[in-house]
């Protein structure tokens, strides 16, 4: 009797324990983007400081780094320098784009004047572009290759080496 009860208890508890331990190191909020390996959703958005709208289609042929950010987001401020210097180094080889997430144009302009603007930031007032990319929060960065395919998504602030590694993926280089 006792052995049977023990066996039954183990049979019930073991699968649960396996699931528990297999997922202990996993962040339950980190949902892998289903867009990786697929065509990046198209957009055509106006830059925060005016000028003609920028469309993703017009950037075909160059890798694109798409960074969703806001001035109220502390990690976005942290990664700003890394993004700006990487954009400077990449020059015309890659296009960096910011997409403003739930923020005011005036605030964004002031921020860019103070901290330096290395690439255009686009306004996404109705949030449709953020929705089409599956943005959960900021900062989130998408790395798109020259053919317009999303090769990687990074959640959280980028440091220079992570940024370089992801950009290499977008350039079609093996890590």
């Amino acid at each position: 009797m006792n052995r049977t009860v023990l066996g039954a208890g183990l049979a019930l508890a073991l699968p649960l324990l396996v699931v528990l331990f297999a997922n202990l190191g996993r962040d339950p909020h980190a949902v892998e983007s289903p867009l990786i390996g697929h065509a990046a959703p198209a957009f055509s958005l106006s830059p925060v400081d005016g000028g003609p709208a920028v469309s993703l289609a017009s950037l075909r042929g160059r890798p694109v780094v798409l960074n969703f950010w806001a001035t109220w987001c502390i990690p976005c401020i942290e990664e700003h320098a890394a993004l700006a210097s990487a954009a400077g180094r990449a020059g015309n080889d890659a296009q960096f784009l910011g997409i403003v997430y739930e923020d005011e144009a005036a605030q964004v302009q002031r921020f860019l004047q103070e901290r330096g603007k290395a690439y255009p930031s686009l306004l996404d007032g109705d949030g449709k572009t953020a929705i089409s990319y599956g943005v959960y929060g900021v900062p989130e960065s998408y790395f798109i290759d020259a053919e317009g395919t999303i090769v990687a998504k990074f959640v959280g602030p980028l440091d220079p080496s992570t940024l370089e590694a992801h950009l290499a993926l977008a350039r079609g280089q093996k890590p």
Partner: protein, 189 residues
Amino acid sequence: MTRLIAALLLAVATTTSARAAETTEGVRAVVGAPRGAPITGPDLDARAKEAAALLRCPVCQGLSVADSPATMAVKMKAEVREMVAAGYDQDQVLAYFERSYGEFVRLKPPLRGVNWLVWLAPLMGLLIGGAFVAWTLRGAKAATPPAMTQVPVGVDALPEDTALVPYVLKVRELAYGWPGGVRPKVERT
């Protein structure tokens, strides 16, 4: 001045409609043409709300897009409404959001693959639990000793030590009223 304002308004209206066309294109690229005809009025309200209630608000904790006041959820609600108005059905709306956010965005997991477990596990738990309870109850029944007769079993036995026998018989005479402490023969009919 009025003319300037009018020109500005016109410019805003044109860019807005251009953007709407662009979005429709984006939606079309993912889920194709709408399966239904465009709808308006209370029907649109009801169907948009129904679809939004099935979507998880990505910035909340277990809230649907319909129930959440978060800016992101409000924008998603607007997008859902726009899609429903254009004639997209519920499946298409959910599929569009699933394409960018993954299956996680569905509050009700679709019946496919490993998701069947979610629906079947409670039923299986109930069956296994029920079987266990039935098995335990049956075991308990089998282990119950037979009901006590008026006279305990073994009461006729006598101790090996003959010196104790008279005392035992005396106790039985007092306890059970047996003459001489010996059980009287019972006539069975």
